[in-house]
Amino acid sequence: MDLVRLSTLQRILRAAAVALALAFALLPLLWVLSIALRPGSQSLYPISIIPTSLTLDNVVGVLFGSNGIGLAPYRNAAFYGLSSAVVTAVASTLGGYALARYNMKSGEALLIVVLALSFLPSASRIVPLFILFSASGLYGTSQGVILAYAAGSTPLGIWLMAGAFRQIPIRLEQAARIDGAGSLLTMRRVILPLAVPGILVVATLSFIDGWNSFSLPLVLIPKADVQPYTVALQRYIQEIGYGINWPLLAAGSLVALVPVLTVFAILQRRLVRVGGLGGAIRG
């Protein structure tokens, strides 16, 4: 049953709004796709909206060509993102469990601090981290970037995992104890298997954050061979004189979209559900 009965006019307006918004959401992406997959000669003014032929030349060019950025920047981003996801998942699982299950006096306060921290955006960390890393020798190291990413994702992760653990009835843990299982076995056989969906979401969010990160590596990683694609793609933009190599930049962007959109497609339902909570914080 429909919740509200709309007039025909209202239905038409609704359909128009939804369609316009869809166009707004998808047109820019379709345009990137269209520039990336058409021959470079067709990316010139005056341009045809629909490409007359499609090619993977630009994608190949970005990854393997002489003017390409190569595979390494993508591999670097994946390495940073995955490592950060692992660190975040471990740290968030530990912290979330402690805050969800132990009745600490300071637990509630800690959880609130965690919520506030997860709200702070990464841009304001660029300068502080640059200072810290310069002073401590972590400047330019991959460990430094990974830990910086993970520290940024961990507050939200702890918050989400505390929620996930609270969803697991404490009775199940008690049942495991009575069944003769010690802490470790209870953890391994009962709690962790039930927390896997939550851990997966936290790790995914952290991976996406790491994979997408631009300002932190821009400032923290000076050496080109360890920079992620976000920083490497800048070479296609010459600020002076408008020299932008659009076919290669679009193709490079397209490659960058593949992992996140794949993960998003797989975990979309869960991310939409949990992300509603997380997104309210993270933005």
Partner: protein
């Protein structure tokens, strides 16, 4: 009893790693920033620095090219545009989707959410491409209405609007998601009751639905506010603060002073301002959130 002591210590043992991580790489850097904001540190001189008190802050406030007040104004315009744009679009769309079936709604939500997972810098490039005077689509859309063409990112009059539209594209999805969640939680009975009382749908939205989601609306607004305030990647990718500092927000000013000019002290001073504002908003967020959470438990 040893068992009791171990039990009391367990949560802290579990928390040791996450707290250490968060302290070292999240809290400590901020603390350092406040310290360095009062020193004459530069990129080449991070140790043996001299305390200079509030001199950095004064220099930042008194700076020309760009004037700090101008930077503040630009930040305010960009943030307000993002805030109202993504709240308006997100809420309007959420209301439109509220009346469609849940299956269709979640499919559409997933599509609208795609920008949420895309790197801000890639979003910047995407929109830069859209605005490109030679091969961008934006002028084709204008042309369809008999307008244009416009040189979006170099014309002072349009640059800010172009940036705001791109940032709305990046951010409205999450507002939509959060508001949709809140709408789904509005008890259907109060909407049905409104209809039984003979109210029109528009009236029900204004008098029943919107008041019911007000807290979520506030929270979503705070999120949009903070993310607008701290947008760096997107602006850097699209204009780098240009043309002629027309889009130089505080986030970019912070980067320019610290990394490009190497003046750590002044960069840290700007960061401290930005951080303090963000922290105040974060605290407001937590306060509102807790008030709401308490109502529901």
């Amino acid at each position: 009893m040893a068992r009791g002591a171990l039990r009391r210590a367990t949560p802290w043992l579990l928390l040791a790693l996450p707290l250490l991580l968060v302290f070292l790489f999240l809290l400590l850097p901020y603390l350092l920033t406040f310290y360095y904001a009062t020193t004459n540190a530069t990129i080449g001189r991070l140790i043996n620095v001299e305390e200079v008190g509030l001199k950095n802050l004064q220099l930042v406030l008194a700076s020309h090219a760009p004037a700090f007040l101008g930077v503040l104004g630009i930040t305010a315009v960009f943030t307000a545009g993002t805030l109202f744009g993504s709240l308006g679009l997100g809420t309007g769309l959420a209301l439109a989707l509220h009346t469609v079936s849940p299956g269709v709604r979640s499919a559409l939500l997933a599509v609208y959410l795609i920008p949420w997972v895309i790197a801000a810098v890639i979003i910047g490039y995407t929109w830069r491409l859209m605005y490109d005077p030679a091969i961008g689509l934006a002028n084709d859309v204008l042309g369809a209405f008999g307008l244009g063409p416009v040189d979006w990112l170099t014309d002072k009059a349009t640059t800010m609007a172009a940036l705001v539209v791109a940032n709305i594209w990046a951010g409205y999805g999450i507002v939509l998601l959060v508001i949709s969640g809140a709408l789904a939680n509005v008890p259907p009975n109060i909407i049905l009751a409104g209809q039984v009382d003979g109210a029109s749908y528009g009236r029900i939205v204004r008098k029943v639905i919107l008041p019911a989601i007000r807290p979520t609306f506030l929270l979503a607004g705070l999120v949009a506010l903070v993310s607008g305030l701290n947008t760096f990647d997107l602006i850097y990718a699209m204009t780098r603060g240009g043309p002629l500092y027309q889009t130089e927000t505080m986030a970019l000013e912070m980067y320019r002073l610290t990394i490009q000019k190497g003046n750590i002290g002044q960069g840290a001073a700007v960061t401290a301002i930005l951080f303090t504002i963000s922290l105040a908003l974060a605290i407001a967020y937590v306060v509102i959130w807790r008030r709401e959470a308490r109502k529901w438990t």
